[in-house]
Structure formats: C-alpha cells, structure tokens
C-alpha cells in the first residue's frame, strides 16, 4: 500500500472508530483479519466465512454466517440478505459484541440490551417478519443440537415446543383454547430473557487479536 492510501485508510479508520466505538487498534486488527478472510478483496462473501476451519464445529455456524449478511443487522429498516459485505458492514455486525462501558447510564444500558437482544432475535427470526414462529424456533433448537450426535427429532421438537409453551404462558398468561399464539415477538423476547444479563455476557474481547495464530482459512 502506498503512503497516500494508508493515510486515506487511516482517515477512514478514524471515522469508523468514531462511529462504531472500536479503538483504532481494534479496527486495524479487524481490518487485517478481514483482508485475510476475504483474501485481500474489498468485500467478504459467504464462502469466505464458511471456510474458516474453526467454525466447522459450531452447530449454529450457518446462523452466525447469515447474521453477517443480514440487512437488519447492518441498517435498521431493511429486511433481506446481502451477498457480500464490506469492511464497514463487517464492523457494524461486530459492534453488537462490544462490552458495555463501565459508567454506562441506565438508559444506555437498556438500549444496549435491546440492540444485543435484537441481534439474537434476528438470528432466530429467519424470515424477518418480526415474529419467531414455532417452526423457526424448532429450527433454531435443531441447529443448536445438530453437532451433538444422534438426537431424535421428537426430542428436538419437544424441547422447542416446551420452550414455546413457556414463552406463551409467561407472556400471554391464560389462553383460551381457540386462541393462537403466533410466535415470539421482540417484546416477548425481551421479557423471557430478562434474567439473562445479556449486556454483560454478550461480548467478545476484540483487543489483542492474536495475529500470529490467525489462519487464512483457505
């Protein structure tokens, strides 16, 4: 890279740092990783992520990869899937995994909580209609257990169903027999996971990325 280009990127990075809350060092590290993954291209494709060897054992690998290409995680309003993401989008997705600042106000904490949970919610709500249906939930549980060996599909369903029943009963209370609970809305999602300290648990340390250990994955 030429000097002018690096100056440009530096400026860009500063801009990104302001917007995403990452430090310059983190952005540099992540950029390195991004280039590694995308084999020095400007954009990252689904295949690039799918070929990371460490992800192979992850049962929810597909969902994680999808999350990176989900428009809802990139910009608030749109629904749909993009094919390739640039570095900025990559960072935008990763901002969901920043830890909370120490002196965070209650309002901000709640906001942070909502964004983090929204990210999780979007991962389950595959069709993007704002509701996790039973089918989608079953799918999620099935994925979660997919690496665990032979699991009877009935068990998976039973778990998802039990969980869904739990949601319905905690959020709706008593339901008449002919009523139909169409699925988990985001509000209900917030409600059932209120004991999960998501703002303190959902984070990754972006510092000290071990560049020596980074493998290209190709």
């Amino acid at each position: 890279m030429g000097a002018s280009q690096s100056a440009r990127t530096e400026h860009e990075f500063k801009d990104l740092a302001d917007r995403t809350g990452f430090s310059l060092e983190q952005i540099n590290n992540l950029n390195k990783r991004f280039r590694q993954l995308s084999s020095n291209k400007e954009t990252l494709s689904r295949e690039d992520l799918a070929s990371i060897p460490d992800l192979d054992n992850n049962p929810i690998r597909l969902q994680i990869i999808n999350a990176f290409f989900d428009k809802r995680n990139l910009s608030q309003s749109e629904v749909g899937i993009v094919q390739e993401i640039g570095f900025e989008e990559f960072l935008m997705v990763l901002t969901h995994f920043q830890p909370a600042a120490m002196d965070i106000t209650e309002d901000n904490r709640e906001k942070l909580r909502r964004t983090k949970l929204r990210f999780l919610f979007n991962m389950h709500d595959t069709d993007g209609n704002g509701i996790i249906t039973l089918e989608e939930y079953r799918q999620a549980v099935e994925e979660l257990l997919s690496k665990a060996g032979t699991i009877a599909p009935e068990t998976v369903k039973a778990i998802a169903d039990a969980a869904m029943l739990d949601v319905a009963s905690t959020t709706r209370g008593k339901m008449e027999p002919d009523e139909f609970y169409e699925g988990i809305t985001f509000e209900h999602f917030l409600q059932i996971l209120k004991t999960l300290d998501i703002e303190t648990t959902m984070h990754v340390r972006f510092l000290n990325l071990d560049t020596a250990n980074m493998r290209c994955g190709k």
């Binding site: 992520l49 049962p59 068990t155 029943l165 339901m175 027999p177 984070h203």
Partner: protein, 824 residues
Amino acid sequence: MHEVEVSQISRKCNLTVVGSRGFMERGFLLLVVLMFLEGTVFPLGAASSPDISAPDGAGGHERNDDHRGIDNYTFPKKAFPVLSLDYGHIQMPFEISLWVLLASLMKLGFHLIPRLSGIVPESCLLIVVGLLVGGLIKLAGEEVPPVLDSKLFFLCLLPPIILDAGYFLPIRPFMENIGTILMFAVIGTLWNAFFVGGLLFAVCQIEGTHLSQVELLPCLLFGSIISAVDPVAVLAVFEEIHINELLHILVFGESLLNDAVTVVLYHLFEEYSGAGEVTLMDAFLGVICFLIVSLGGVAVGAIYGILAAFTSRFTSHTRVIEPLFVFVYSYMAYLSAEMFHLSGIMALIACGAVTRPYVEANISHKSHTTIKYFLKMWSSVSETLIFIFLGVATVAGPHAWNWTFVSVTVILCLVSRVIGVVGLTFIINKFRIVKLTTKDQFIVAYGGLRGAIAFSLGYLLDKDHFPMRTMFLTAIITEIFFTVFVQGMTIKPLVDLLAVKKKQEAKRSINEEIHTQFLDHLLTGIEDICGHYGHHHWKDKLNRFNKKYIKKCLIAGERYKEPQLIAFYHKMEFKQAIELVESGGGVKMPAAMPLQVSMQNIQPKKQPPMAADRALPQFTKNREEEIRKILRSNLQKTRQRLRSYNRHTLVADPYEDGWSEYMLKKQRMIELEKKMTQMSNYLTVPAAPSDSPTMRRARLASGCDFKAENKGAKVSSDPNAFYTIKAPPGNVPTIQVELASPQSPDSVNLVDEFSKKGGSSQKNTDDRKEEQGRMMKPPSAGKGGKGEEEEEEEEGENKNPGLLRCLSDPGPSNEDEEDEPFLP
C-alpha cells in the same frame, strides 16, 4: 412415647420380666431427659428469646447426671444388678448426640421465632447460645470440654461444609471469574498476612504496650492466620443476604481458595519461628510449596473425583449405596490431601466439582436427592455446631486480654482488607469486562468474615513455641466476633441501603437455557471469525474434549451422548413430574409450570399436508369426527378405569387385582388399535395427540383443553363406548396420528410407531399411575376433578424414561427401565 418404646425394646434384650419395674422407670427417665431437651424449643417459641433455651438444654444434660445418681442409689443391694448404669460406656457418643441434638434444636428454634431470623444472622445467635452453654457448664463447676479441638474441627466438622460447597459450586460463574477470585485469594491473602503481621509487629515495638517480647515471625504467623476469609462464616452470612451471583462467588471463591495460601504461610512461619532465620531461599521454597500445596490439592481431589465418577458407572445394580461413594471418595480425597499437608479444602472442592456432572448422569434420581439432602444436612449441622462451639470455646478460654493488641488487630484487619480489595480491584478492572463497581468492592471488602478455621489454626499452635498463644487466641476470637457480629449483622441493611443487585430467585427456564447455549456458540463463532482465540474458544475446545473422551469413560450407557440442553430438558421434566405427583396428582399445580397455555395454542393450525398428498379417500368432517369420537371415548374409558383403580390403591391387594385387570384391558385395546392400523385407509387427525410429556401436562393442566380439542366431537361418556369400538363397520379407516413432523414421508413407519406408541405410552402412564398410587395419600375429593386429566393423553410419546427413573425404586427390579437410554 416413641422413645419409651425404643428403650423398652432395647431393654428387653437384657432384662427379663423381673426388671419390669426397672425398665419402666428407666424409660420414664429417658423420656424426662428427652422432654427437657424437647422443651428447649417451646420456651424459645414462647419467650422469643433463645437465651432461655440454653439453660434448659444444659439443664437436661445435668439432670441426666442427677438421675443417674438416684438410679444407682435405688438398687444398691441387689445381688444381680437388674438395672445397672454405666454412663462411661456410652459417654462419648451420648454427649456427641446431645450436642448435635442441641444444635439441631437451636436451629429449629430460630426459625420458629418469626422476626428474629430476619434481624440477626443465625451465626450470631448460635455463638450466643454457645456462650450461654459454656457459661452454664462453667457455672455448674465442670470443666468446659475443649469442644473446638483442632482435630475434631478439621477432620469432622469442616469437610461436610466444604464438600457441600464444592459439590454445589456454581461452576460457570466460578470459572468465569477465576482470575479475580485467584487474585483476591492469593495476592489478597498474602497482602493481608504481611500487612497485618508487619504492622502488628511494629505496634508491638512501641513502648508501653508491654508487648515487646513479641517477635516478628509469630506476628507474621498470627497475620497469616487472621487474614484468611473463612468459608463457613461467609456461607452462613451470605446465604442469608441473597447477594447477586457475582459478588457471592467472588467472596466465597476467595474464602475457598485462600486455604492453600493459609496452609503454606502457616507451616512456613511455624517452621521458622523456631529457627529464627529466614533466607531468600526459604521464601523461594515457600512459593514452590504454595504451588505444590494448591495444585497438589486440586490434583488429589480431581483424581478421587474421577475415581468416584468411574465407580458410579457401575452402580446401576446397587443403587442404595451410590450416595456413599460420593461421600467416601470425597472424604478420602480430603484426608489424603491433609496427609501430605496439601490443601484439603481445595481437594474437596475439586473432588466435588469434578464428580458432580458425571455422577449425576450415572446415578438414579433418588440417589441424587439423597446426596443433596445428606450434604445439606451434614453441612448445616456442622455449621451450627461450629458456631456453638466457638461460643463454648470462648468461655472455656484461657484468655489474655491485651487492649492494644486486640484493638490493633481488629483495626488492621479492616484496613488491610479495604486497601487490599480496592488496590486489587484497580488492577483487576483493567482486565475485566464486567468491572467491579465501588459498591461491589465495598461488599467484597466488608464480606471478608473470619471464622472458626482461624480459631482452630490458632488452637493448633504449640504453647511452648508460642508463649503468646493465649493472647493470639483471644485476639482471634475477638476478630471473629467482630466480623461475625458487627459486619455480619450490618451487611444485610447495607446491601439494602446501597441497593446492591440481589440474586434472582427465579428458576432457570428452558428458554434461558437455550439462549445461554446459543449465545455460547455464537460468541465462540464470533471469536473464530475475528481470529481471536479467547476464552470462549478454549472453553468450546474443552467442552468438546470432555464430550468426546471423558464423558465416554465416566458415564455409563448412552447418556454421555446427551447434550446439555437435552439433559436440562429431562431434568426439568423430572422436576415437573415429581411436583405433579407430590402435589397430589394435579390437585394443586405447581406454579412453575407453563400451565395456562396448551400445545394447540402455539401449534400452527395447518391443514394436514399428508391428507392431500396421498389423495386418499377424503372423509367428510362428520366421518372424521365420528372416528375421533370413537377413539376419544376409548380413552375416556381407560381413564375411568384408571381412576377407579387408583382409588383402590389404598388397599394393597385389590390394587394388584385392578392392576392385572387393567393390563388385560390395555392389551385388548392395543390389539384393537393394531387391527385398525392394519386396514388400508389413512386419515390424519390434526389434533396433535402425540405430545411431549410437558405438553401433555400443560394440556392437562388447563382442564378445558381436552374438550376444546374435541370441539364438535363431543366426548362420549358412555362407558360402553369401549366395547362399541369392536362394532365399527368394516370400512372404518385406520387412524393415523399426526406425529410432530407432518412431513414424515413414510406412512407405514408412522403406523408402526403409532401402535407401538399406543402400547408403550400406556404402559408408561400405568407405571406412573402405579407409582403415584403407591406414593400418594388417599386421593382427596378434589382429585377426581383434575387427577383424571392426567391420564388424558394416552397416546403421548413414551419418551419419559426419566419419569420412571425418578420414580422407580432403587432396587434392581426396575433397572432395565431405569437404564434405558434417553435417546433411541
């Protein structure tokens, strides 16, 4: 009365009829003694002060001796001592039992007084009781027994508490905060020891304190004894204030892990206080020793833990002794570690923590409950005894009160604790993502209670080597009293005042479990994508290693394959099933269950896709309902039968008859269903009858669901409906139950499964019924209402070996079922 009987029986072995007067009297005396002891509870409740109880407790003891004298006096001239008294023969166990009884009754008493336990921590009250008991013994002119003997304390009283703590250690938060905990436990304790010891020595050098004979090393030794936070005291106090998980594990974890530091420092200073000189080499050896003591302790514990887990793999035929293995192996671990002067506490913790996940998967549910109760019982009795003994030992004393030394000790302990916590948090917060706030630091510092371990260590000191031993002991006791009384009593109001986050009492729901695991995998995935090998990455690796190799070796059968989520689900199932049975078969439903919603509320009401796909003869709605009606009335019939059979469980034999009769009926129904399935037509019944047990229960819970489900198809209550099923015309179609997966391609399989299911699930229900019949009180009038609902879903999947597992006897008769793998 019971006691009298027991004594009579035991006496009968020794006495012939001649002694009838003797044993009546004897029994009466025993009764009197016990009444006195029992009596300790009642004045407690009435007078709302524990103080009165103590005299009674001791009085009973004394009285016992008096009676004995009279007893002997009554029969002095008998040639053959029909009734002789040999108190010495039983003295030790008798007195031990008396102490235990006293402790338990005290514990009982506190909870009878409504407000007291809210204000004063139990530990404080127990110490007061101990003081009173000790005082009474002294008043009676007897020698106060050295109750808090170091040997007794370390070998008998401490292990149950630590094992309880280790076995139920919340591993997840513990491991997540291990860095912070170790920092506090190792560096913090070292700092405390040297700060307190050093400054104390400096104070002692001041003229006018009359302490100039105290040397540096004894001071440091004293510092190391006094600086360790005590797990017993911490547990006792923190359990009552319900602090949030993070703070609890920080303080409690520290108190457990600092044992290694204390042990090493103690032995080091004890060793060198005689020799005098400490070189750099000795300090270096001390560090090595510390590593050996701590890691060795953990290793010993882990080895025994693995042995225990491995043993439990083979206990499936002798369920009754399963719990014993856990206790004995753990105790062996503790003793083995102590043998080498390794950290016994760390060995116990490691043993408990290693054993638990594997043993839990191997042993029966009943054994698990037994372990749980035994541990809780032992630890709570031990804890009570320790606090009472602390009080007694205080009275027993010799004391050497030195104002300067004692007050300086108390102040220095407080100061060093605060400085240590604040300083260490400052460093730790640089690495922590969830920072410790000022409030947290305050609670951690303030929660640093000292306890009986310090006292016992001080008690262990050799009088000849340490002429200051009595003064040390006095100071230690004062410090313990100060922390337990002042800090222990004020910490609860302070927690409220500071609005420190409390523990969430709610049980973990299945949704939380799913999402916790989802989050784990997500974070691991994100770390992998970022190319950062953080702790999620390593945790994931470790988990997979554990699953792949260790579980395979240590867990019997197929259960090792069971993922955590499924294990959790099954556990939840057991719990609900047991609650259901214990609550009287559904008269009163536990609130924790998802009751108000039934499966049909969440199940999309889609048209059965298969009906269209197969293009089989389409049935009219009427026809369909007719068939449903038949099936339903069938179920109804069975249910009625079950209910009546249940009523008979009161009597033992008719129950057996009813049982076999029922089996016959059931057999017939299965055959019938088989016949039906062999016919060539298919029909999909959309009401999903094959539910998981949860849903079954959930559905039963809302009584209306059953009927609602059959809206239109009114449930026939005709008792003859069962038989009418034989009559259906030849063209009655096969009923194919829609399994949870509507897309399932193979209809034949489904049919097979159906008939199988029908059979097995009924059996399952029967088993359940049987157990219930055995366990339950006579079915109350209300039971008929809801209890019947329980049998509603005959076709539920037989996926409930868990139920059998938890309900079955530990005997071998049910083993086959018990060991059935969960997953086919």
